[in-house]
Amino acid sequence: MSDQTPGAPTTVSRVPRESAAGEEAYLEVTDLQVQFPTADGLVRAVQGLSYSVPLRRTLAIVGESGSGKSVSSMAVLGLHDRRVARITGSIKVGGREIVNMSDKDLEGFRGGDAAMIFQDPQSSLHPYFTVGDQIMESYRAHNNVSKRAAKERAIDMLNRVGIPNPKRRVDQYPHEFSGGMRQRAMIAMALVNDPKLLIADEPTTALDVTVQAQILDLIADLQRDFGSAVVFITHDLGVVAEIADDILVMYAGTAVEHGPVNKILGEPLHPYAWGLLESIPALTGEPQPLHPIPGSPPSLLAVPSGCPFHPRCEFKDRVPDDWCTTLRPELVPRTADQGRTSRCHLKEPDKVFATEVLPRLP
């Protein structure tokens, strides 16, 4: 991939993998709550979140700003300051409990078994150290090796992520790299210890589409080689369709829908997921007026009672007895398909989607 001569375009198409049924979870999150006490009150950033990811699979967590997708993933790596955040519930990675793990154990766990790729490579790489130094530091923290061996490893990793001329690049500083190359360098740093769990928090949001396509291919290739479990956080449903096996849709700190990618994007069951699909302009066909979700996401200081989505939901009148405003729905299978769950009181959501929502999708 470090070949710089333009050749015939490589064409790539992805085939969705088989179902996850029967595979053992590598990451298992159970009833996770993350709260931040502030001067204005208690911010309930994550409320009762549960999901699991087996090795070799990719879970996409989708949601808007303030939905709790980043906060919950930072908790998985123990990145919250315990003096500030109240975390309860359970997060198990490879059988080890992360909530309440000691700082010393966390240090050994982070960057070793589990690693993270951040959105903004500009601010996540240290400007004073060479790219090579930063990759070597991560490698030497977890492996008892000489500087020379670590540098060999750094060069090898840069080559692996498709950075041309890695022997020269390893001694350069982040500002000498372009945006796409910085993101590649950060992926090299995250993968230097062969992590079994990779959390990618909006890794392509700051990048241009052609570079984004390169990075998505790279993450997919590396996942196949390393056999890792990947949690991919994004707000871009197009990216999800290309890279994910399963999707978790989050709203106001909770999961509102969970299941295989083709089901959730093809025939979602939750009105919030419908609204998201209706907000994205299509790339083909005659442009149709968009049908956006009214209002804006709620403040996490005062999450609405009952279903947190009810103030913006156009289907709440179809549910009897004010359930939507008073009773918080459970995340359970809503149709005959047991492999997917949704948090909504609406009856027969599959029929409502097929007859009312599908015809007006852009």
Binding site: S178, T210, L277
Partner: protein
């Protein structure tokens, strides 16, 4: 030309029959210091290097391309926040490229700008009423007594509560702030609005709300738009005509449908094929993706001939020596490539 122009009361002259906006061979080269041994030698960043564009009244022109392609610089040139190093920017036939600030003022009223970042583009110390009302006062558009009611009218047009005129920007959400920015642009009753990534900073559901607002304004008020975005779906939704930029030049320009369905420039084809599409999961066969190699070259020292040749799979010797001109290859579709041709099969999967 002066003889043909008709002076208007507003101070804006116009040549009969001229398009609303016309850019001819516009260049913007920024001075940059060299590095190391070259420190004494002046280098020029060729941010925009010979752009031709035309916008008719009421039309929406989309400008797409990746970071560094010069689309935002073009926006700043049209609004004359920058003075071009070469070329003409004609507004209703009158060249405003080097016009003095005093003469330019009436034109500034008619050419408005909406910014990307709703957080940094509103003065935090001013109330919404002051922000929106400034244009009214600057251009003497309403009497002092009528200012408040006009501000409230504008807030209502963009879907904000008119009673909130005395609030400050921090009291509003991102989507609401972008609406304030739109109200500020509308206050001047512009004929053309340059919108530089107006929805990129917003969440998906809010983005769709703002898009619908812009669309209704365009239809009701007949304002022309130059709409800059990197999201190709958003641009397609909003624009009649689209120009694709690469490294300071327009490489392809055409009507929406022909550009998306039969792109002829290799860069346009690569760009369209790289857009992730959710159609894949609805049973649409996955499209073939063209993977571009390497990065965009530096605008300080762009490649000779065709600027895309270093990453192009069709490049031949002629591409390094002859700079391809932007010529019409299909009705109203202009392409700058020696080997322009529509793709063998559709790049974007057909929806059922």
């Amino acid at each position: 030309m002066t003889a043909a122009t008709t002076p208007a009361k507003s101070g804006v002259r116009s040549v009969p029959g001229a398009p609303l906006l016309e850019l001819e061979n516009v260049k913007m080269h920024f001075k940059a210091k060299g590095e190391g041994l070259l420190a004494r030698k002046t280098q020029w960043v060729q941010a925009v290097d010979g752009v031709d564009l035309t916008v008719q009244p009421g039309e929406t022109l989309g400008l797409v391309g990746e970071s560094g392609c010069g689309k935002s610089t073009t926006a700043r040139l049209i609004t004359r926040l920058l003075e071009p190093t070469a070329g003409q920017i004609r507004y209703q036939g009158v060249d405003i490229a080097h016009m003095s600030e005093r003469k330019l003022r009436p034109y500034r009223r008619e050419i408005q700008l909406i910014f990307q970042d709703p957080y940094s583009s509103l003065n935090p110390r001013h109330t919404v009423g002051t922000i929106v009302g400034t244009a009214l006062r600057t251009h003497g558009m309403v009497a002092k007594s009528g200012e408040l009611s006009r501000v409230q009218e504008l807030l209502e047009v963009v879907g904000l509560n008119p009673e909130h005129y005395n609030r400050y920007p921090h009291e509003f959400s991102g989507g609401q702030r972008q609406r304030i920015g739109i109200a500020r642009a509308l206050a001047a009753r512009p004929k053309i609005i340059v919108a530089d990534e107006p929805v990129s900073a917003l969440d998906v559901s809010i983005q769709a709300q703002v898009m619908n607002l812009l669309e209704s304004l365009r239809k009701e008020l007949g304002i022309a738009f130059v709409f800059i975005a990197h999201d190709l779906g958003v641009v397609r939704h909003f624009c009649d005509r689209i120009a694709v930029m690469y490294l300071g030049r327009v490489v392809e320009e055409g009507p929406r449908d022909s550009l998306y369905e039969k792109p002829q420039h290799p860069y346009t084809q690569a760009l369209l094929s790289a857009v992730p599409d959710i159609g894949v999961v609805r049973g649409v066969p996955p499209k073939n993706r063209i993977r571009l190699v390497g990065d965009v070259p530096s605008p300080v020292d762009p490649p000779s001939g065709c600027r895309f040749r270093t990453r192009c799979w069709k490049a031949q010797d002629i591409c390094a020596t002859d700079d391809p001109a932007l010529i019409e290859r299909a009705p109203a579709q202009r392409v700058a490539c020696h080997f322009a041709e529509p793709p063998a099969e559709s790049i974007l999967a057909e929806t059922a």
